[in-house]
């Protein structure tokens, strides 16, 4: 009988790490700037998930405050990038 802690440690967190690695490949090779912007947005969103799982595992609910700030920064970054990409002259 596996415990829920072992399941979080050996299944959930490795899958999240693999997801971040796959998104980083797109962040490096993305052919245009907007590809890199959405890859960065997705990295931060998966980071919120990793912080949530880590706060479950370490019994520290304070880490969820960091997740709130990261969600805010991801939204502001995407909106700022979109605003200036739309403004720029080719």
């Amino acid at each position: 009988m596996i415990t829920l802690e072992a399941y979080f440690d050996y299944v959930i967190l490795p899958i999240l790490s693999i997801s971040v690695m796959l998104v980083f490949i797109r962040l490096f090779k993305g052919p245009s700037l907007v590809d890199r912007v959405i890859a960065l947005d997705l990295v931060i969103t998966i980071g919120i998930g990793i912080i949530t799982v880590y706060s479950i595992r370490s019994n520290q609910e304070v880490f969820l405050d960091v997740a709130i700030i990261l969600a805010l920064i991801a939204f502001l970054g995407t909106v700022a990038f979109a605003y200036y990409i739309e403004k720029q002259k080719k």
Binding site: L4, Y7, F8, V11, I12, I15, L16, I18, S19, V20, L22, V23, I25, R26, K29, G30, P31, S32, L33, V34, D35, V37, I38, A39, D41, L42, T45, I46, I48, G49, T52, V53, S55, I56, E61, L64, D65, A67, I68, A71, L72, A74, F75, T78, V79, F81, A82, Y83, I85, E86, Q88, K90
Partner: protein, 140 residues
């Protein structure tokens, strides 16, 4: 019993995030990548946060988790729409198998306004051809 619920929710959430990551790798086009990632990643992170809300018996954690989920659901489509609109204006090419681009010629290039019929568009940009890529290498 509560462990089974937690394992189920976290598994569905993390698989959804994994599918979003595979989709951003494998999809052939910026717009298809955008449509994959925003929905799947929001669903996955929301399910993981529901896991945290069930796991901690404290009411403050539940409030924080609901606040983050609400914020993600509100801001995800706004950011996706803005970056998709910016990509269309900066002429990011569509996938080479695209059949129809219904927005082609409908946007005024100077004012960035959407005009439905396209007949009254000032300037000569109303008959431009859709920005579809010729090869796979342009959009990867």
């Amino acid at each position: 019993m509560i462990d089974i619920i937690l394992a189920f929710l976290s598994t569905v959430g993390v698989l959804s995030i994994l599918f979003a990551a595979i989709g951003i790798m494998r999809m052939p086009d910026f717009y298809l990548r955008l449509s994959v990632t925003v929905k799947a990643a929001t669903l996955g992170v929301g399910l993981l946060l529901i896991c945290a809300a069930i796991m901690f018996p404290d009411i403050s954690v539940t409030t924080k988790a609901i606040a983050i989920i609400f914020f993600l659901i509100i801001t995800g489509p706004i950011g996706a729409h803005m970056i998709g609109r910016a990509a269309y204006f900066s002429r990011t090419p569509l996938w080479k198998g695209t059949i129809i681009d219904e927005l082609a010629g409908k946007y005024n290039e100077e004012t960035h306004e959407l005009e439905s019929d396209g007949k009254d568009t000032k300037g000569d940009d109303k008959d431009q051809e859709p920005n579809v890529a010729k090869t796979d290498e342009e959009t990867e």
